[in-house]
């Protein structure tokens, strides 16, 4: 494998990495989700995190944001711990993570992106609302500003979330599957948005599911499967050869062993009870 594509490589331009991950291990109960991960994600790029289900992609984002406890290791954002860099980071969670029946409008949700800058107690004012409206405009949702969020389609909800991230005006964005379950219009809108962000020198780290579009949408890729498999520019890492090998064989031995362990689990995925 190309040495450039291996774990821990600094970006070629030598600039300070946007995200630096060291020795990161996260387990859920006793299940390793991320294991001994070292990686460095370059600033100013669109980075796709790609990997199978359960490979720890979302967990990586959450660990970086301090939303899940880490067993070992650390994550630094532009050289400092996240807690000190909150203002530089925007987050787009998975769409299912919130209650869309909540009594609030699209504009209101976008305004929430500005709360970080306001700090405790201060309320958003006219300026914040104007900023939020501008962000909605950027994702083509200006007409829906006053709409209750449950009355939006899935793609529109996703765009509201993106507008909220825009409002955060961050240097680095973490996005959890921004393209999941959206219509073609939204997909195009998101893509344009990502490119604008890159042109402005911002960094986007997005969990991505669709292998077909990785090369078209992103310029860097992190192949994740509990451990870091490879990371680097799409051109050198996401090669035909790598993909061929990636998709080449079907796993048998381990999955059998694992299945034997985990038979009879009808509720394994239901959070509690």
């Amino acid at each position: 494998m190309n040495p450039d594509a291996t774990a821990g490589a600094l970006p070629a331009d030598g600039a300070e990495p946007a995200v630096e991950i060291h020795d990161l291990t996260v387990t859920y109960r006793t299940k390793p989700v991320l294991w001994d991960l070292d990686a460095s994600l370059p600033a100013g790029h669109l980075v796709a995190i790609v990997g199978p289900n359960g490979a720890g992609k979302s967990t990586l984002l959450k660990a970086a944001l301090g939303l899940v406890p880490r067993n070992t290791g650390w994550v630094k954002i532009f050289g400092r711990p996240y807690e000190k860099q909150r203002r530089l980071v925007g987050y787009v969670p998975q769409r299912e993570s919130v209650d869309w029946d909540f009594p609030t409008s699209a504009l209101d949700v976008v305004t929430m992106g500005l709360y970080g800058g306001l700090g405790w107690l201060r309320r958003p004012g006219r300026r914040e609302r104007a900023t939020a409206a501008a962000c909605l405009e950027k994702v083509g949702m200006a007409d829906f500003a006053g709409r209750q969020i449950s009355q939006l389609s899935g793609g529109q909800q996703q765009r509201v979330f993106l507008a909220r991230a825009l409002a955060q005006d961050a240097r680095l964005y973490f996005m959890d599957e921004p393209f999941a379950g959206v219509d073609a219009t939204t997909e195009r809108a998101i893509l344009e948005l990502l490119q604008t962000l890159r042109a402005e020198g911002r960094t986007v780290v997005a969990v991505h599911h669709d292998l077909q579009t990785v090369a078209g949408y992103f310029d860097h890729v992190v192949l994740l499967n509990m451990r870091l498999v490879a990371a680097g520019p799409v051109a050198t890492t996401f090669t035909d050869e790598n993909l061929q090998r990636t998709y080449g064989g079907r796993l048998t031995v381990l999955s059998q062993a694992a299945e034997a362990l985990t038979r009879q689990k009808p509720f394994a995925r239901d959070r509690a009870s």
Binding site: S97, V98, F102, P103
Partner: protein, 368 residues
Amino acid sequence: MSPAVAILLVGGAVAASCALLGTFLVLRRLALLGDAISHSVLPGIAIAFLLTGTRNTLPMLAGAGALGVLTVFLVEALGRSRRVREDASIGLVFPALFSIGVILVSRFAYHVDLDLDCVLYGEIAYAPWDLLTLGGRELGPRALWVSGGILLANLVLVIALYKELKLGTFDPGLAAALGFSPVLVHYVLMSAVSVTVVGSFESVGAILVVAMLVVPPAAASLLTERLSRMLVLAVLLGLASTAGGYGVARLLDCSIAGAMAAVAGLLFLIAFLFSPSQGLVARLLRRRRLRARLAGQLLMLHLRESGAPRPRADLERRFGWDPATLDRVLRRLRAEGLVAAENGGLRLTAGGGLALREAGLDQVAHRD
């Protein structure tokens, strides 16, 4: 101050406090927390009695307040363990605490009339005469000071932390990422709930508090799509229930708190049935209109297919609708000029063809 005014003010203050906090409880799926606290404070008053040997209000309130906080803490901790959901954790915590209370009273205060109704829960009917005296001066009903103070504190809390409460309720993940600790916000809210609930129990009794925490916010959620308006509406509905309930209670000479809860329920029922956007009637009407439009379009497609005017009987056979339904559909189509009678049959008008095109149905062939 006349007794009626005092009761309305006290009831209104309690209703407004409860509606403010209840809105967030309802959105956080913790609507039954008030009821849980109303049971789980028993060991608090038992312990307070055992420690002080009196049934005075202050120690009872302190004991009940402590248990209220313990209740929300335990419910939260159980939920956080992710082993049971919030509803089950409420159902685990309050029976256990109440049972401890019953055992304490049965063992150590066997001969004392120590129960929640007689030592903790107040009665709003008596509020006008329970005056606060300070340095020999009477300063109006004590319950008004208590509930007014609680209302003021809650208003300050909700206004000051509106943004944090909203974000923490809607999207705890983002709240945490932005540095607004949702856990801290949750504990602030829950402490406010337990203080409000216990303090209001002491002024007006349990049932009114439990009802006002849930019913007006739930009704408000059917009437608006904005959190700020939901808060205001919930407060207004709470006040309306207070006033209406007092009227009913005076009219029928029955329990004031019970009547207030019943009126709140009536207001909820009205919202449930007649809310313009969410109400049952509106939903049914919408569904009917949709079905009627669909039926009209089906009929029009059929007329377009066939080209020539079709007799009514033919249509009746073709769609298998009963004559009344067909009549209704035809009446509407003819009134809108989409279908016209011709030679004892029916045909599509030009306007009807246009309507079909506008509905995006011009390419659709109506198949059997």
